[in-house]
Symmetry: C2
Subunit: 202 residues, 2 copies
Amino acid sequence: MTLISEHTETDTRERILVVAERLFRQIGYLKTTVADIAKELRMSPANVYRFFDSKKSIHEGVARRLMGEVELEAQRIARTPGPAVVRLREVMTTVNRMNTERYVGDNKLHEMVEIAMQEDWDVCVAHMEMIAGVIGEVIAHGAATGEFEVKDLQLASLCACTAMMRFFHPQMIAQCATKPGPTIDEMIDFVIAGLSPRTRPN
Amino acid sequence: MTLISEHTETDTRERILVVAERLFRQIGYLKTTVADIAKELRMSPANVYRFFDSKKSIHEGVARRLMGEVELEAQRIARTPGPAVVRLREVMTTVNRMNTERYVGDNKLHEMVEIAMQEDWDVCVAHMEMIAGVIGEVIAHGAATGEFEVKDLQLASLCACTAMMRFFHPQMIAQCATKPGPTIDEMIDFVIAGLSPRTRPN
């Protein structure tokens, strides 16, 4: 009985987030109200508030879900077999592709990202750390096989992610789309060069 | 007579920009009107409009001046003697320091930058290309002395600038100040590693 009720609670939480995401996409974050979300789910706003204490909490929940999908996919690629350089390229390309799909262009979720950035959310920092961690795993593997030469693993993954900001950060993806610059493949080449064994210490 | 009159015209243009910049800093870009600028200069708004056809033109003129100062200083450093790695570090540190001073924090000029980015100005693209060009000069020198190993010079300078986005881009400087990440010196080390001769082709 307890198990069923816990399951239902999780289920309702999840349904609220799915519907909220759809409405944020369709009519925009700012225009969507908690009442709209409740109405779609045929429940009372009070019931929605039992799960999320504010629209901001729903917003964070939706963001967490979207980011979680990117994290899971990055992790899956990082743990496949094969050379580290190949996996590093695939993880980076995937983060760029998934973030572009999620947040850029006509997509109304772009508005949600702007707000998250302005409000300086912990969920964003946690996501960046998670992605840096996954990239760190791949770099560690490359260091073990001799593909990479890295003194400080955590620093190397932070630098690799920072170098990719134009291609990872939703606002930068949107802003730089029409600006001169390297392609993502050229940028990944540059990052790989920075991680590769060198003839002399820098 | 023509020379004097041309000189005076340039002078008036310059005085308008100096006063506009001061007002943008003091009361913010959005709150400053062309009438405010004219009043400070004890001239009629119509006279200001003889030099700039809109507040946006004044805004662009101020931005151009601020960016021009950064460009000049970067160029000066790039052309001093000494190892390319030292100059590259100094150019990059200077761009970061000058952009931080100009656009970040309490500084009301931050508002001006936001608008310039939203409106997707050509002056910003021209500035980025100019800075990439200066960094390209330093990399070219390093390639000539064997400090760097670079196949495509233009691409290398675009990648080096893109890698430094967290430290060059006014919005990213502001947004990342409290986020985990490498220091600027660590990031420059990473970029230098990417440009350094390697034991094997990547």
